[in-house]
Amino acid sequence: MSEVPANAALIGGLIEACREVIAVNADHLSELDRAIGDGDHGTNMCRGLEAVYAERSRLAELPLPKALEETGLTLVMSVGGAAGPLYGTLLIEIGRHLAGANGQIAFARALEHAIDAVARRGRASAGDKTLLDVLYPVHAEVVRRAGLAGIAEQAERAASLTFGMKAMRGRAAFLGDRSVGHVDPGAKSCALLTAAICRFLEEQCPA
């Protein structure tokens, strides 16, 4: 992450971009969740992003790693459901590992470490039809410096691939084979957020 735009504008802008993409897609996320879960993923994520948005001026004053960690804590406290601890863990761990480091390699390492922490928290692996099925491919794109548009595209593609997967974790796993044929709501929200973040960064820091 570069110093341009200024830290506060960067953090504030990221928060707004994430809040907007979740607000616009909340109904769709809940609809996906109704098919294979308990139907509250959209409202839960909305609640979380609104809580983060309400704290945006405080968060924007923090250095980026600390802001990520604090955003994660806010999500843990507000989202509810499994998504709160999972997204919370992701941001908290990225923040902790970015502290004192900078640059794309440091970010890739922090992301890798954070994704491992999410996998442990959810006791899930690749192919289990969870947000990990977006996070792992996103990390791979970051590692090979795919560029923001490439990362966003890969995230969307990875989310749609969960359509054919059988859920092994979460409420959807209770459905067994009947979970096949639906996009995982957590993977979808993860792809939406990734794409929104990439779009925002691309607008702010054109290559």
């Binding site: 308990d38 509250d40 839960n44 609640r47 406290m77 459901g81 499994a82 999972l86 928290r121």
Partner: protein
Amino acid sequence: MSGMNPKSANVGIVIVSHSPLVAEGAADMVRQMVGDCVPLAWSGGNAEGGLGTHAAGILAAIERAWSDAGVAVFVDLGGAETNSEMAVEMLGEPRSGRVIICNAPLVEGAVMAAAEASGGAALARVVATAEELSP
């Protein structure tokens, strides 16, 4: 509530359900069994009172049922467990080391654990009693 709990010699019990009605009902059943001699608290529903779980509510329940002998937590479905793990971490060391999330059925586990706790059993014994219910 923590720190001024007269029954804190016994292990505490926390019940976490997606439904406030289930959590409260299970707690009622525990209370019927052991009266006031076991610290007991529940957290049910999301932050808005709908079905769900949230870490902040669970953390508050652990505080209410706190015992220096430890706390056994009973959960229903996935998010209840994940959020409980988060709440235990937020409790911080060394207290987090004295909280165990049990792999046991919510109602039966909580009632049996509370019965064990009411006799002054240690946390490991209380948890083992409840977990014997799970194959």
